[in-house]
């Protein structure tokens, strides 16, 4: 029996999912070991072997692939504990990285500070070289200018070096020379150049992304070296793959060359899993949401593809590599309720976090949080939170809410907590609206997929606000990202700047650039063990109307590229522009220009069958745990409603709203306007009764299509 394993290392927990060829699934959560997360990685594998009553060595030898998502790079950026990094750049441009084009995000807040630059000014060195806007050498690069810089780098014990020269997207010869010389003369130091990280126009985006890559580079490389050694030590013979920010996977070698591709490694798997679950229900588009302790993440899947964007940043550090387009807003179980000076109730974005956490945790929290409200509203069971591991103190939460909020608002405790619930739901709904509408999509046409945590208590109301008819809480929601990792394909993104009006494009050159990227991609994928027949190509042109400043990435057909069929490309562009921005300039026959060409190369991976049936419907009454008073938002009253044990096999059952379904890892609130179908794999499909008056049925045929 062969296994695939997904391992998602987060701040608190390391999630592991193991799936056999036949779909036999083991799900496990173990504590993370932040000092050296590879320890938690190996421990977790050991524990899974025990759970399966298998000898560890035997278990290891039966694993053919481990897919791993890591927050090593993310944490280095969030805590600013990356490598001591130097930047070498063109004379005259020493400060672009720190200036960030002169933005202050909070315009009316004079105490708001700029970010700490990843490379301090004294480690930003300049050389007197220059390439012109046309790509011609204006001032020749001389290696000897690097000598004093190398000396300084050594004196300062710099651990990582990045190079970014002006207009290198047009002509990278200077960067190539510099990187070669530095690698030769700075042994043991991580060296990277912008043409290796992001060879595209826009200096600030490029220098920032390159600096991020250098800043996290040595840490990421060390982490993987260490992990691979540990896996070698325990004689793991399978393949290790790493989750990237773009939702695909790669081998560790590729990551070590450009570590910035893992900056969003963890959350990137959720939309991938979302795409899988929505396909099961016959949907091509879905929104995946993940409500954790401090934040709420939302991402889009369109036509079964996760939406990527190049406009991302972390901790205000700009990263222009294609990453899954995930918006994060400050709304989580720990979001605190407060009253502003105008007497209005607000929720978040500040969070009580896990420590001290909400008042009901009794860990010293004194500010009312969302979880306190959820508890008082009856959605959470004080004796069964995290399966009973953490007892919640409802009385204490009520007292605090009364004194801190309710009395000041002149409302009852119940009115106040219902208000907290409504406000945070509205905040999350606006966040979801922004990610969809901003990109020109109507959220009503999307399936809403909820990963783990507190999200499934709030989804009925969020969906109602957005007029989304149905949401799904997948069977593996508690380890949703780990599961998503096993559903990703090998994915490599290539980019070349190609600034030209379409009328002036030289067909031969245009195809040559594409073919270069294609060759590189094919070689990498073959090296990663992909068969040629499993390789897919997705070309994208970043283009705009002449005179516009912001380009629109347009995915095009490979055949149109090969045949240089530009008319067809233009047609699609007009349509896409109209969809996103409400108008096109087709009638005006406005000329278009090309900025960048991109090629995404995908190596299709075999998908695990982790949809083992959970058995037929049990008698619902058997799963009925209790009746409990809970808040019904549609009626604005507390009402006694049934609470079901969601960990019992319930396949095929229909649970009428209002009801609460409790699992060890999560609770689902099905409000008055909804019913819930438990599908045969144990996922909860919650649908609006008025949209599906005859109930909702999963079509068998569709499942087979997706699974096989």
């Amino acid at each position: 029996m062969k296994f695939k394993v997904g391992i998602d290392i987060g701040g608190t927990f390391t999630d592991i999912i193991t799936i056999s060829e036949t779909g036999d699934t083991t799900v496990h959560k173990t504590l993370s070991t932040p000092q050296d997360s590879s320890i938690g990685f190996i421990n977790g594998l050991r524990e899974v072997a025990e759970m399966r009553s298998t000898n560890f060595e035997q278990f290891l030898s039966s694993i053919d692939t481990i897919v791993h998502g890591t927050t090593v790079a993310t944490n280095a950026l969030l805590t600013l504990k990356g490598a001591k990094t130097a930047l070498i750049t063109t004379k005259g441009f020493r400060d672009a990285l720190e200036m960030r084009r002169g933005i202050r995000e909070e315009q009316f807040n004079n105490h708001y500070k700029n970010v700490t630059p990843l490379v301090p000014r004294y480690l930003r060195f300049i050389v007197d070289e220059r390439i012109s806007a046309e790509g011609k050498v204006v001032k020749k690069f001389k290696e000897k200018e690097l000598l004093p810089i190398i000396k300084k780098i050594q004196e300062e014990k710099v651990e990582s070096v990045c190079i970014c020269f002006m207009n290198s997207f047009k002509n990278n010869s200077h960067e190539k020379q510099a990187v070669k010389f530095l690698r030769k003369n700075l042994k043991g130091i991580f060296v990277t150049a912008s043409f290796e990280v992001l060879p595209s126009i826009r200096f600030y985006e490029r220098v920032s992304t390159t600096a991020v890559s250098a800043f996290v580079g040595p840490i990421v490389a060390n982490y993987f070296d260490n992990l691979i050694k540990k896996l070698d030590d325990i004689k793991f013979k399978g393949t290790l793959l790493i989750m990237q920010s773009n939702g695909g996977v790669v081998t560790p070698d590729v990551v070590k060359k450009n570590p910035a591709v893992t900056v969003l490694s963890g959350p990137a798997a959720a939309p991938t899993a979302g795409a899988f679950y929505s396909a099961l229900l016959g949907y091509k588009n879905c929104i995946t949401v993940d409500m954790g302790g401090t934040s709420f993440d939302a991402a889009l899947v369109i036509d079964n593809q996760c939406v990527t964007s190049t406009e991302g940043s972390i901790n205000r550090y700009r990263i222009a590599l294609p990453s899954l387009d995930i918006i994060t807003i400050g709304a989580g179980g720990g979001s605190i309720g407060w009253i502003d000076n105008g007497g209005l109730l607000r929720m978040g974005p500040q969070s009580a976090g896990a420590m001290p956490g909400p008042v009901c945790y009794e860990r010293g929290g004194t500010v009312p949080a969302c979880t306190d409200a959820d508890l008082i509203l009856g959605y959470l069971n004080p004796d069964f939170f995290a399966g009973g591991k953490l007892k919640l103190n409802k009385a204490k939460a009520e007292n605090t809410i009364k004194t801190v909020l309710a009395d000041k608002l002149g409302l009852s405790v119940l009115e106040t907590v219902a208000g907290m619930y409504r406000i945070i739901n509205s905040n999350m709904a606006q966040g979801v609206r922004e990610i969809s509408v901003e990109r020109g999509y109507d959220p009503r046409e999307f399936l809403f997929i909820v990963a783990g945590g507190a999200g499934s208590i709030h989804s009925s109301e969020i969906c109602k606000e957005l007029e989304i008819p149905m949401f799904v809480v997948p069977n593996v929601s508690s380890i949703f990202c780990a599961a998503g990792m096993l559903l990703g394909d090998l994915k490599h993104d290539y980019i070349r700047s190609y600034f030209s009006s379409f009328t002036k494009i030289d067909k031969k050159h245009f195809l040559k650039v594409f073919n270069e990227m294609k060759e590189e991609g094919i070689n990498t994928l073959l090296h990663e063990g992909v068969k040629e027949k499993d390789i897919e190509l997705y070309p994208t042109l970043d283009m705009r109307y002449v005179g516009q400043y912001h380009e629109v990435p347009l995915q095009v057909e490979w055949n149109d590229i090969l045949n240089f069929n530009l008319e067809s490309v233009f047609e699609v562009f007009h349509k896409e522009h109209n969809r996103q921005f409400g108008y096109s300039l087709k009638e005006e026959q406005t000329e278009m220009e090309l900025i960048n060409i991109r090629l995404r190369m995908i190596g299709k991976m075999e998908k695990p069958k982790f949809l083992s049936s959970k058995g037929e419907a049990h008698n619902l009454e058997k799963a009925l745990k209790e009746k409990r008073k809970a808040y019904i938002p549609e009626l604005n009253v507390m009402q006694e409603i049934p609470v079901y044990d969601g960990d019992m096999p319930l396949g095929g059952a229909v649970i009428k709203g209002p009801a609460v379904i409790e699992k060890i890892t999560t609770s689902v609130f099905v409000s008055n306007d909804y019913d819930c179908l438990v599908d045969e794999f144990g996922s909860f499909v919650v649908y609006n009764k008025s949209v599906y008056p005859d109930g909702f049925k999963v079509e068998k045929k569709k499942i087979i299509e997706v699974v096989d």
Partner: protein, 557 residues
């Protein structure tokens, strides 16, 4: 009607989400870099009476004139407003703030009743008049600056009035402006659709009552902030130099601020009479300047709606430099904001020393126009990257480096260097922080910058406008001022030219070097008290020289 307090919170967030969405749409669809890169625009929602529901203020100086214009429109059209109407406006003598800042308004209806407006105003790349780009330092009357557009319908009941459209755009040089106005109409349509759906969802009665409750709550917040300022009458002043006509001329700005419990009045009556040139403010640009300055002194989380501005009283008599009479030239008016801000900070300094900043760098700016040999097309480009200096320090924090004038407060972005070199024929030689440009102090002023650009393409026209080249930005409480702004042209033949602060230079030849210094912000508190580690860190990073460290900060290594 009973107010659902929770719904009031939800209203606030929903309005903000609408104006943000309009703003994103504009960023992505406009063509002029002034709009899509520098974000020199604002989007807003107003109720049926023209009261502000919410705004997204990328560039705050434009922002607080939309409400007044909306009220002008209501008065002008009365009941003659229909679904599908689109109204355009720029006229500074009917509450516009600057000729180039063109506003689009679209009414929103619910069951055939007018319930509100969506609006978008942006700085257009051209607005007719004598000089491309709109900044005409020789202007003495409005017609030399721009085409005047009092409120006029571009669309009526959904139908384009092609004749009106043609009339307006026959007077504007660049085709691009038409496309940008289309983008503004698009953004307003988004706002209209969402406001319409919002009112439909809650019903008109709930909408009206809860909107009012939101205003009341915000007003309460603002009044609490005012109440925290000790009662009194405070005065401050600053100086505007050179009207573009008379060398050496100067014009005082004088403010008298009266704080009485939770009311505050800004009285600028004693300021200089209006100038003969284009260095004149207009009522709404001055009120915007006052508002955005005061907003920097209060809780930044106050929602931006009518309740926020209600407690603020403005007295700016007509005929003064801050509210010029018809038909004065006024294009420079937005840029009097730095002086207005200075006078307010100086006035309130003794009352609330912990809330004010030292002097911000004043704007000194150039705008290039010419032909791009590679594309064969005309370009207009405001040199944003060169003009942005530092902000003043305040108690507890250094100023912000390279943030730019206070009227934008970091909302205007530099052009990307590589995009700039594609879009214009010019080559950037240097754009870096300038050592010792931040005014010394216990808290240091934000850093200014040094910019060198090799002007290419030949026959370039440069318009210069601004200030800050006579009097340095002031320090506070023992902090030092910063250095002056400067622009200089170095011709290939070795000749140098320092333009005046309002000037226009024609026919600049190929390979002329443009040099600009944007000064830093003023320092706050005695520099000798500055944390030694911070001084040494600044020296290590070469933003403070060893000499200044030793002489002014008294720090030796």
């Amino acid at each position: 009607m009973k107010i659902d307090k929770i719904l009031v919170s939800i209203f606030q967030r929903a309005f903000k989400s609408i104006t943000d969405e309009m703003s994103i749409s504009l960023t992505k669809t406009t063509r002029s870099p002034i709009l899509c890169e520098a974000k020199d625009f604002v989007t807003g929602l107003y109720d049926a009476k023209g009261q502000m529901l919410e705004q997204t203020e990328n560039l705050p100086i434009l922002s607080f004139s939309l409400g007044p214009v909306c009220r002008v429109i209501l008065e002008q059209y009365g009941s003659d407003i229909y679904p599908g109407d689109v109204i355009i406006h720029n006229d500074v003598f009917s509450m516009g703030n600057q000729n180039n800042d063109v506003a689009i308004f679209k009414p929103t209806f619910h069951n055939n009743v007018l319930v509100g407006w969506s609006a978008a105003k942006g700085h257009q790349a051209d607005i007719g008049g004598a000089v491309q780009g709109g900044y005409n330092p020789n202007a003495t009357e409005v017609w030399q600056e721009a085409i005047r557009i009092p409120a006029v319908k571009l669309y009526e009941k959904g139908k384009l009035r092609k004749d009106v459209w043609n009339l307006i755009f026959a007077n504007i040089r660049l085709q691009m402006v038409q496309e940008d106005i289309k983008a503004q109409i698009g953004a307003c349509t988004l706002g209209e659709r969402r406001l319409e759906a919002f009112v439909a969802k809650y019903g008109l009665e709930i909408f009206e009552s809860h909107k009012q409750a939101l205003f009341d709550s915000t007003e309460k917040m603002m009044r609490a902030e005012i109440k925290a300022i000790p009662n009194g009458v405070y005065t401050g002043g600053s100086m505007v130099y050179f009207d573009g006509k008379h060398k050496g001329s100067k014009f005082p700005i004088r403010t008298k601020i009266t704080v009485e419990n939770d009311n505050i009045t800004f009285d600028f009556s004693k300021s200089s009479p209006q100038t003969k040139g284009f260095v004149n403010g207009i009522y709404t640009s001055t009120c915007s300047a006052i508002t955005l300055t005061f907003l920097q002194m209060v809780n930044p989380n106050i929602p931006h709606n009518e309740g926020m501005i209600k407690p603020l009283k403005y007295i700016v008599p007509e005929g003064t430099i801050l509210n010029a009479s018809y038909p004065a030239a006024t294009t420079f008016g937005n840029h009097l904001c730095p002086q207005i801000a200075d006078s307010i900070f100086k006035a309130l300094g003794p009352a609330v020393p912990e809330r004010i900043t030292a002097g911000w760098n004043h704007l000194l700016c150039s705008l290039f126009t010419g032909n791009h040999p590679r594309t064969g097309k005309k370009y207009v480009d405001i040199c944003f990257l060169g003009l942005k200096g530092g902000s003043g320090a305040l108690k507890g924090d250094d100023g912000y480096d390279h943030i730019g004038m206070i009227d934008a407060s970091g909302g205007v972005l530099d052009q990307d260097y590589e995009m700039y070199e594609q879009q214009t024929p010019h080559q950037i030689i240097q754009h870096e922080y300038l050592c010792d440009s931040g005014g010394a102090g216990e808290w240091r002023g934000g850093l200014g910058t040094e910019t060198k650009i090799l002007l290419k393409g030949g026959d370039t026209t440069m318009v210069v406008f601004g200030d800050g080249d006579v009097e340095p930005n002031y320090g506070l409480f023992g902090g030092k001022g910063s250095m002056l702004n400067k622009i200089e042209l170095k011709y290939k033949n070795g000749k140098k030219l320092i333009p005046m602060s309002k000037d226009m230079i024609h026919g600049i030849p190929d390979n002329t070097l443009y040099y600009q210094v944007a000064g830093g912000g003023g320092g706050y508190g005695n520099p000798k008290k500055r944390d030694k580690e911070k001084v040494l860190w600044d020296v290590k990073n070469e933003v403070v020289s060893k000499k200044v460290a030793q002489k002014i900060y008294g720090v030796k290594k």
